[in-house]
Each structure stands twice: as structure tokens, then as C-alpha cells.
Symmetry: C2
Subunit: 159 residues, 2 copies
């Protein structure tokens, strides 16, 4: 597995860093981190024992959560790069929300090691991106996902 | 909000009651419960404060988890009823797994009260059901979901 040195979530503004899935400030959450690996985006997560569907297998909701936050993080990485920036360069990236999430559960996902989401990002519109994701356990693709992510509307900020 | 007196998850066999989303034996999990409300299926869940996307709004992964487990529970309710049974009658129901999950996030979901999933179940095949779900916060539909659930294959049991 790879280490993600610079994750996009590290650079989200503090107001946008509370997501249970990927917020670095949410101490009870998963704290997912998403970075570039060449032209692909990657998120790695080690499930906890309680994240089971049945003993030995990961429950679907965690897989959906990883694919969801990996999707918004990947879209943020892509638009940030398009704007000339990389995570770690000190510029706050755009924050996305999920418009839709689709997951095909290809095979039972073993709960005995890290899960790695690998994404391909495609721009649909200047403010909307599609992220196609394969979720690996070891070298096996256990789920495939598609997220459509849109730049977060102002209505999301309670101020 | 309604109380679910007899939930299908109450009757799952002990081996199948460990899911983080809907297993009654998973003490760290959400312990979602799904029952009939006439011809509709319902699941009610009160999100915790940490289940946020941003302060005040529910994160997508929880919504996906609810729709996912509501989907497998609804499919189980439907096949159980087709077989002549109702939750609470002492017969162990069939257990389903998710083949695919789709969620459209219609509007930001407020984190200030219970969420109620309301499902319509349709048989695709004797071992496969489609569950269409609307997720309500109060009287507003905040997300729409579609789950295809299949009777759990034997490969899921590690014995």
C-alpha cells in the first residue's frame, strides 16, 4: 500500500474539515485522505473490526462511505490541479458535495487489511466532475463506484 | 415518527446479526431496524452529532449506509412475507446482501432530528429484489435511493 503524503483533505479550510468520512477535525470519524498517484487518485483506509457485514467481511456502508468521500476528494484534487495547484502548496482547495453515488458490490470484501480506492476523474462541467473508482482489497477489485460531485453550494454553510 | 415494533433484523439468526449498519449484536454499530408500515418498509435512525458533512448537515456515507441496510432489510421483509411470515412470528427470515446501491442526494440533509427511510419493494427474480427508497428529514425528501439486494450466497459464511 502507498502512503499518501499530501492529501487534499489536509488543505480543506477548517470550516470544511468536519466530515465524518474525510474531515481531519472529526475525531470520531474515518479521517479518509485522498491524494494523487500519477493521474489516478487514491484513498487508503484500514477498516476496524466492527466494520463488518458478517464476521470477516466489510459492510457495504463503509464501502459506500469510502467511495463517496474519495469521490469528493478526487474532484477537489482535479479542479485544484486545473487551477494550477497541488495539495501541500498552501492554497485552499475547492470543496465538493456528492450529487450522486453508485456502488456495484463485485465480491465480498475481506476485513483483514487495508482497502484502497483508485479513482479516475473526468470533468463533466466546470463545476461538476465524475469519479470512477475501483476499490481494492489486496489485488482484488471488490467494488466499483461512480460519484458525481459538484462544487459545494453556498447554502451548505450555516453562518 | 413511528416506532418499529417488529423489525426484521430482530429475527436474523445470530450468525447474521453483526452488520455495522443493522446488526443487533454489533454494539458499536448503527443497529438500524426495518419493519413494515402497510405495504411500505421503514427504517428510522437518529444521527449522532459526529455524523456531519459540515456542521448541521448529515454526511453522505451515513445516508448511503441507511439506504443500503434499509434495502437488504426490506428485501428480507418482502421475501419473508411472500413465504408466509411476518417479523416477530418466530421464524428466521432470509438474509440478503447488496448487489448495487445508488443514491441521489436531492438536498442537504439537516442533522437535527430523525431520518426516516421509506421503501417500496419489487421482486426482480425469486432471489433478487429492488428497493426504491425515499429518505425523509421531517416532511422533506433529502435523498432517493435504489438498492438491488440478492439472497446471501453461502460463500459469505466463514465456517
Amino acid at each position: 500500500m502507498i502512503d499518501i503524503e499530501h492529501a487534499i483533505q489536509d488543505d480543506y479550510g477548517d470550516d470544511f474539515a468536519w466530515c465524518y468520512g474525510c474531515g481531519r477535525l472529526n475525531e470520531k470519524g474515518l479521517q479518509l485522505r485522498t491524494g494523487w498517484e500519477g493521474e489516478k487518485t487514491v484513498t487508503v483506509y484500514m477498516p476496524h473490526e466492527e466494520h463488518m457485514a458478517l464476521p470477516g467481511f466489510v459492510y457495504g456502508g463503509l464501502i459506500g462511505s469510502i467511495i463517496d468521500c474519495h469521490g469528493t476528494g478526487s474532484a477537489s484534487l482535479a479542479l485544484h490541479r486545473k487551477n494550477g495547484h497541488e495539495p501541500g502548496d498552501g492554497v485552499e482547495p475547492p470543496r465538493f458535495v456528492t450529487a450522486s453515488l453508485h456502488v456495484d458490490f463485485v465480491k465480498p470484501t475481506p476485513l483483514n487489511g487495508p482497502l484502497k480506492a483508485v479513482g479516475t476523474v473526468e470533468e463533466i462541467h466546470p463545476k461538476k466532475f465524475r469519479v470512477l473508482t475501483e476499490l481494492f482489497a489486496g489485488d482484488k477489485v471488490c467494488a466499483k463506484g461512480e460519484v458525481v460531485a459538484a462544487v459545494m453550494p453556498d447554502t451548505f454553510l450555516k453562518k
